[in-house]
């Protein structure tokens, strides 16, 4: 287990990158604590798998260094880095039994057979695979095979980190939940450093202590699930996390007032934004309420999603989503209020801190 530091990592798949657009990873500078559970969250093509492969050593970054516990491992092969990786599709050795699959990484490292037996038995116990130990891996279900992939990492008790590349993609929904909680449990028990790549916010937020949100080859925010929800530092985070995403409204600032077309919205404090910046006010639909003293809107439609309702309303030319309790009704003269405490101001997509 190790602390992983990524120092100014940049990566381009092209041999001669010219400008930023050629880089799959623009610049990533991060520290992952020993024993932490991290999620890399972002849409397809944002560079999260590239970053993961750089950590595992399958890719060598064009620029930058990777340190494990302060030691430079940038040039080391995957095998020497001593990490484990679970892939999107379960990778098992079809012709081997479950037991032999788990023993494989140990036998390759010339571990004594008695020790192999002991460690594999432990891992089988841990992953609840006892009933299948002597079955061929081929015939097992996807979730069992994925457990075997994980087990091949866990069986080596000295791994520096376990990396997951969208490991639940091919798993049935009801098994997803089970596997995820088992993973969480294993993390609590053994405190491996775990990095989990996904584009599913639920997976990321439930698995990780800290979520790294990536967008177009950049890390846009690293934070706890709560931070990502309350204080998204980039409009992309606001939009990507939460369902529906954050409302973004173009505004003009004047002291502690934001002017939204003809309407004035009170802010908790003043902020300093650069001249000519594109300024937007962001607020989560959960913090928009119907209030007779608020801004007049027209209701477009109301979606009932079970536990709550989402009202799609229009304020002049702007679409706004409002989350309502299940029992609540949209008033006859709909007016909305934006909770000042939940407002964030964005200049050119990046969040600006309060105060001047």
């Amino acid at each position: 287990m190790a602390r992983i530091s990524l120092e100014h990592i940049r990566h381009a798949y092209l041999p001669h990158p010219v400008d930023d657009a050629d880089y799959a990873l623009k610049e990533v500078h991060l520290d992952w604590d020993d024993g932490g559970a991290y999620a890399l969250l972002g849409p397809s093509g944002c560079g999260k798998t590239t970053l993961l492969n750089i950590v595992s050593g399958l890719l060598v970054p064009s620029h930058g260094r990777i340190l494990f516990d302060g030691q430079d491992v940038t040039g080391l092969s995957t095998e020497k880095r001593n990490i484990a990786q679970v892939f999107q599709f379960p990778v098992v050795y079809d012709t081997m039994t479950v037991f032999d699959n788990l023993a494989f990484p140990l036998r390759n490292r010339d571990v004594a057979e008695a020790e192999v037996k002991r460690r594999v038995a432990e891992t089988i116990e841990m992953l609840d695979l006892g009933a299948w130990a002597n079955r061929k891996a081929r015939g097992l279900t996807a979730d069992q095979q994925q457990k075997i992939s994980l087990g091949r990492g866990m069986v080596r008790n000295d791994v520096n980190a376990i990396l997951f590349d969208e490991p639940l993609t091919v798993i049935d929904p009801h098994m997803k939940w089970q596997l995820r909680s088992q993973l969480k449990l294993l993390h609590k028990q053994f405190a491996h450093t775990m990095v989990y790549v996904t584009h599913d916010q639920t997976e990321a937020l439930t698995f990780a202590d800290k979520v790294v949100v990536m967008y177009e080859g950049e890390v846009v925010q690293v934070g706890t699930p709560e931070e990502l929800f309350e204080r998204p530092s980039h409009t992309f985070v606001g939009y990507f996390i939460g369902s529906p995403g954050m409302n973004l409204l173009p505004v003009r600032l004047e002291g502690t007032t934001a002017h939204l077309d003809g309407h004035a919205v009170a802010l908790p404090d003043a902020v300093a934004v650069p001249q000519d910046a594109r300024v937007e006010l962001g607020i989560r639909p959960e913090y928009v309420t119907f209030d007779p003293a608020g801004l007049p809107v027209t209701v477009q439609k109301v979606e009932d999603i079970g536990r709550e309702k989402i009202a799609r309303v229009r304020l002049d030319a702007h679409d706004i989503a409002v989350v309502l309790d299940e029992g609540a009704e949209v008033p006859a003269d709909p007016r909305i209020r934006l909770d000042p405490a939940a407002i964030n101001i964005y200049a050119n997509d990046w969040r600006v801190d309060w105060g001047i």
Binding site: L58, T78, E79, I83, F89, Y93, T95, N108
Partner: protein
């Protein structure tokens, strides 16, 4: 489930039945017919029962061509399958050179059999052929027209040249279907090159190799044109394989009865070996 029975649907199948009957069943039955009868001409036939079969099965000539046939097939399978896999493993997995290799590999397969035979005949001639001349020039006495060993070597070499590509292409297709994640996982698990082959590549190639094996078995077991053009079955009878022998019996000597019996035995053997091999390799696949 309420299945609809509509007997008129049979009429839809009728054209296919007629075509299959005319081009497969009727000729096959003719052979069966010949195999149990004898004739002295004038289209007069006598029923002979299993006499031809008994005669063929106990004839020295049939057994020795059968022996040559199995030897030949065993030799070319033992060379072509491992060689094909080795070549496929050595080919680049993507990019420009992968395409170049594929085209080069496909070339021998596009050449008609009799041309292959003629090509090798000229190529291997000891006096004017490039190969034959070179070998003799190196001090090795080589002449496929009158030395059994030379003839065998040439026939085997020709078949390997002609057909290894097929195994290569099939094995290559099998290798291409392996996701990169398998190699990456094996790398992480610290697997050796041999382990990667043994536990990832070979199992994933199993199906295509089964097909390659069956195709090469059937084709080589029925080989006719190439050795016929190259050696004509000689010197003596040393490269007279089953099909060459069969043609000699049927068309050369007009022994219709024994040739027909031979055809049927030949056909059943091919079928049996393929069936046994297929059932054996696919056993436990469903589990």
């Amino acid at each position: 489930m309420g299945k609809t029975w509509n007997n008129r649907a049979w009429f839809m199948v009728l054209p296919v039945l007629i075509i299959v009957a005319l081009n497969a069943i009727v000729p096959l039955m003719t052979v069966v017919n010949y195999s149990v009868q004898d004739t002295f001409g004038d289209n007069v036939f006598f029923f002979e029962g299993a006499r031809w079969f008994r005669e063929v099965m106990s004839s020295e000539r049939f057994l020795s061509s059968l022996g040559r046939q199995f030897t030949f097939t065993a030799i070319i399978l033992a060379i072509e399958i491992p060689l094909g896999v080795a070549v496929a493993l050595a080919m680049p997995r993507r990019g420009f050179w992968a395409s170049v290799c594929l085209v080069l590999m496909a070339l021998p397969l596009l050449i008609p059999w009799n041309v292959v035979g003629a090509m090798w005949n000229i190529f291997a001639l000891p006096d004017i052929g490039l190969l034959g001349y070179t070998i003799n020039h190196m001090g090795i006495d080589y002449n496929f027209t009158n030395q059994p060993i030379s003839a065998w070597v040439t026939v085997v070499l020709m078949d390997v040249w002609h057909w290894t590509s097929l195994v290569v292409l099939l094995a290559y297709a099998g290798l291409q279907s392996i996701d990169d994640a398998y190699y990456q996982a094996a790398h992480i698990d610290g697997a050796s090159r041999w382990s990667v082959f043994r536990y990832i590549q070979l199992p994933k190639m199993k199906h295509v190799l089964t097909i390659a094996f069956l195709l090469r078995f059937m084709d080589s077991f029925m080989i006719f044109t190439e050795p016929f053009v190259l050696t004509g079955g000689g010197p003596g009878n040393t490269t007279t394989f089953l099909s060459i022998d069969l043609v000699k019996a049927a068309l050369g000597e007009f022994n219709l009865g024994s040739a027909a019996a031979m055809s049927i035995i030949y056909f059943l053997m091919t079928l049996l070996v393929c069936w046994l091999f297929y059932t054996y390799t696919m056993k436990g696949e469903q589990k």
